[in-house]
Symmetry: C2
Subunit: 207 residues, 2 copies
Amino acid sequence: MLLCDIGNSFYHFYKNGAFWKEEAYKLPNLKTKEPVYTISVNDKALKRLKEYYEVIEIAEFCSLNTGYVGLGVDRAFACMAIDDGVIVDAGTAITIDVMQGGSHLGGFVIPGFAALKGAFDSISDKLDVGVNFGVSLDMLPQNTKDAVSFGLLYPVISSIESASRGKFIHFTGGDGQFLSRFFDNSIVDELLVFKGMQKALKREGIW
Amino acid sequence: MLLCDIGNSFYHFYKNGAFWKEEAYKLPNLKTKEPVYTISVNDKALKRLKEYYEVIEIAEFCSLNTGYVGLGVDRAFACMAIDDGVIVDAGTAITIDVMQGGSHLGGFVIPGFAALKGAFDSISDKLDVGVNFGVSLDMLPQNTKDAVSFGLLYPVISSIESASRGKFIHFTGGDGQFLSRFFDNSIVDELLVFKGMQKALKREGIW
């Protein structure tokens, strides 16, 4: 079965243990005519996929126990894969959701690193310096490039740390691997959304 | 004596205990011909002021003990006003600097709230929701507007908290009052930069 998770910037695909992504602004070349079991937060990219492939939307199969109104389908399916812990999906936006005893307790969104970099650039040419992603977070910066790099990373990391309250963290998304390096009690799982989709499809007897 | 601190968005003035600000994109009407003792991080606005007023730049009078290379003059003068504690200047950008025993230990920069809001808007129309600045930071959000509002405030607040390590915090700048509400061990001092400028001018025998 072919699964697809359409985000703001990418189509993410999964089939037989393999996963790959393609840019969301153009039609993916799938070399297959099989049905694409799909969730999407990107209406334009979804419409494009539908024009050329048999798309089966499965958002309605999500059975997450939550009081959150308007939770994005990608977040909801990622949460469905985890019973206890924090789920951080670090892509164009970074979403942080907390699961406990199979229930979703809530979550929040922060801009991803590219958008945060854009926020610095929009303020002043003086802050439009490169980013040093290796900057130490244990020492206070001593120059502008490090001060901006620290200011890009530290708020993201300290808010994840603070919101997690010691819970185990599951990172996914393009910057998940990078972020997980700052947390001992964490793993990276690129397939989290797809695992939630699988779980839902199994419950429906489709998988 | 008339003091002026030119930031990214505003001219800030101080005279005889009064202070006021004027937008940086147009010439301020000062109704005086006296010299304007000035520091600036905004070359364009400085040039405009110089064309119509007698501007005396005093950046060179700053005698902050620091190893930081390229510290903005406004940050440097604000730090000069404090011997021990954290200085948070929350304007277009939010700068966080740490002083200990009269020495500057370093600091970092994060985008101000308007720039952070722009970062959300740039990601997706779905995140271009209003901001609820009264959102609770003690509970995980349960809808998109709260999730974005929380994601705007929480990283800023948790990084200030984490970097401060219990030190007393001096807030200044347009959003200083708002931010101070989240910190028990803090005060708001709108005049911090001007106090540093005064200190420097006194040392030079000019004040």
